[in-house]
């Protein structure tokens, strides 16, 4: 076999291996989706979305969990976006001189992104629930999830900022702009699609988190809607977790239906990310 034929063979083999790797993921995803849809699709109805949980599976709904999830996501976005982007901008745009402290901060942020979520739950329990006595409220839940996704937002913000050509900044400075003007008017708009994508992907990770919220003591049975951020709450993953562990078959069906709703919510979040990316990308013309 000559060299060329060998290389082509390797090439074809690599292509097949990559294809197989892709298929493995897809097969599992489709099996899961099909199984869930098969079990739960028939259960989804308007009354399922607008009823409170109940001891009778056929009467139970996800209203409080759905509203809780939307509240938590909204609050988490409000807290995490400015702090995460702010930290990312500072580290990327304002600390050009690498010294020991900035390195230390960078390493720590990278490490924090890998810390198991339950640890954040314990942190939230210690700080927000007990030390600040915010109790088991929406605010506590959102702040805990904010801590959880901050490292991801900071890292993706920095990556997005890094991708902006340095010549843009130099051109801006050359015209007499300050650092703030350069960052705000030139760099951030270009980096925004990347930052938003990172933020929304981080949020769609947070939407499925159960462990930290159970740790801070989010509740299992709630049959009312929160009126302020200081009210107790429950979220979809916790409702699903509770239903799955019940003896009645009807609750397993409810859990499957609630999983579909959660998947749809995640899908909506991800579609927003894609939409925003396209929208902002088109505007930039250098």
């Amino acid at each position: 076999m000559n060299r060329l034929a060998y290389n082509k063979l390797v090439d074809r083999f690599f292509k097949l291996a990559a294809l197989a790797a892709t298929i493995v993921g897809l097969v599992f995803l489709f099996t899961l989706v099909w199984d869930i849809a098969h079990d739960g699709a028939g259960r989804i109805s308007w009354s399922f979305l607008t009823s409170f949980p109940s001891r009778r599976p056929e009467r139970a709904g996800i209203l409080s969990a759905l509203v809780g999830t939307i509240w938590i996501m909204g609050l988490t976005a409000v807290f995490a976006f400015p702090i995460g982007v702010g930290a990312g901008v500072y580290l990327e745009e304002y600390t050009k001189k690498k010294n020991l402290i900035t390195r230390l901060i960078e390493i720590n942020i990278a490490n924090l992104a890998g810390v198991p979520s339950i640890i954040y739950g314990l942190l939230g329990l210690g700080i927000f629930v007990r030390a600040l006595s915010l109790e088991r409220s929406l605010l506590t839940g959102a702040l805990t999830l904010t801590l959880l996704i901050l490292p991801i937002i900071i890292i993706s913000t920095r990556e997005a900022l890094k991708a902006v050509p340095f010549s843009i900044r130099e051109a801006s400075y050359a015209l007499g702009a300050t650092r703030w003007q350069t960052t705000y008017r030139q760099v951030l708009p270009v980096a925004l699609p990347g930052i938003l994508t990172g933020t929304i992907l981080a949020l769609s990770r947070a939407i499925g988190e159960t462990a930290p919220l159970i740790t801070i003591g989010a509740l299992t049975y709630i049959a009312f809607l929160p009126e302020s951020v200081f009210d107790p709450f429950t979220v979809l993953p916790i409702q699903i977790f509770n239903w799955v562990s019940r003896p009645q078959k009807g609750f397993a069906v409810n859990a499957a239906a609630a999983i579909i709703v959660l998947l749809v919510l995640t899908l909506i979040l991800n579609s927003i990310a894609i939409y925003l990316r396209h929208r902002f990308q088109r505007r930039i013309r250098w």
């Binding site: 400015p82 915010l134 003591g217 299992t220 049959a223 009210d231």
Partner: protein, 342 residues
Amino acid sequence: MDRTRTRTPKAVWVILAFVVATIAGVGTEYAHAARRLVKIDGSSTVFPITEAVAEEFQIEKRGRVMVTVGISGTGGGFKKFCRGEVDIVDASRPVKSVEAALCRKNGIEYIELPVAYDGIAVMVNPQNNWVDHLTVKELKKMWEPAAQGRITKWSQIRRGWPEREIHLFGPGVDSGTFDYFTKAIVGKSGASRGDFTASEDDNVLVQGIATDPDALGFFGLAYYEHNRDKLKLVPIDDGNDSNGKGPILPSAETVNKGTYQPLSRPVFIYVSKEAASRPEVDEFVSFYLENAGTLSAEVGYIPLPEDIYKRALRKFKKRKTGSVFGGKGAKMGVTIHDLVRH
């Protein structure tokens, strides 16, 4: 050195300041603002009953009172209860001395109220044709700590049983069910072999026993009721003929009459005396004791006799605090009448 270095985006500081102010300033104020709220946490075994009561109570109150129910296990529930973080704790076993001490330290007095019976069912796979009943002694032989790695075959339990491996399934060691089972069978709460399949999720245990012909396991009767077709219930002989002769199957009747021994037990709620002075908590607990009979049966538990609920209600109204178990946790031989003495 950059000349522009010191310029930090103002907006970032404004937002940061806003967030900090929200957390620190307003937080503590509003967190304690009185919304008519009854907070409950604790055992997953008692949860379905409390959930049912909370559901009916809130329907009757038309949203004027809100009830939250969490699941942190009996132990976790007492931890929160004794810190004053919840008003009521769901308990599938009586309060332990360490918990009682913690409550005392924090000045939390409690009223102990039985709300239903829970039978612990012992089950095997339906294909298992050799087990017709089990004695407490045989169960002890299987589950005691000394059995670890030693008792591995059915033939070691009773002569004539097959030379097949025995696979044991049970609830997690943090559950009240596990505490009670070990106390009743082995004699010491929490004393058990470690080499069995443990799960906090009873449906996992149902699956395990239903698919393994060599399996034996135990969990709350309510889970058996909903999986009758997949499991075979084992009658238990406690060797004491005064409370029913021979092996006895758990059922509403045998649990209620006290013949299904030693694996049936009352489950409780503990109400904070201080919280009970709030009208919503007082109303909720009264509603609980008035409706626990019907509602516990509906969710698969065995109701206490009607007059026990009446006496429990009187005990609650008199705010009789403390535990008849003397803070010893799971304990045998306490009758249901002792529980409601006031």
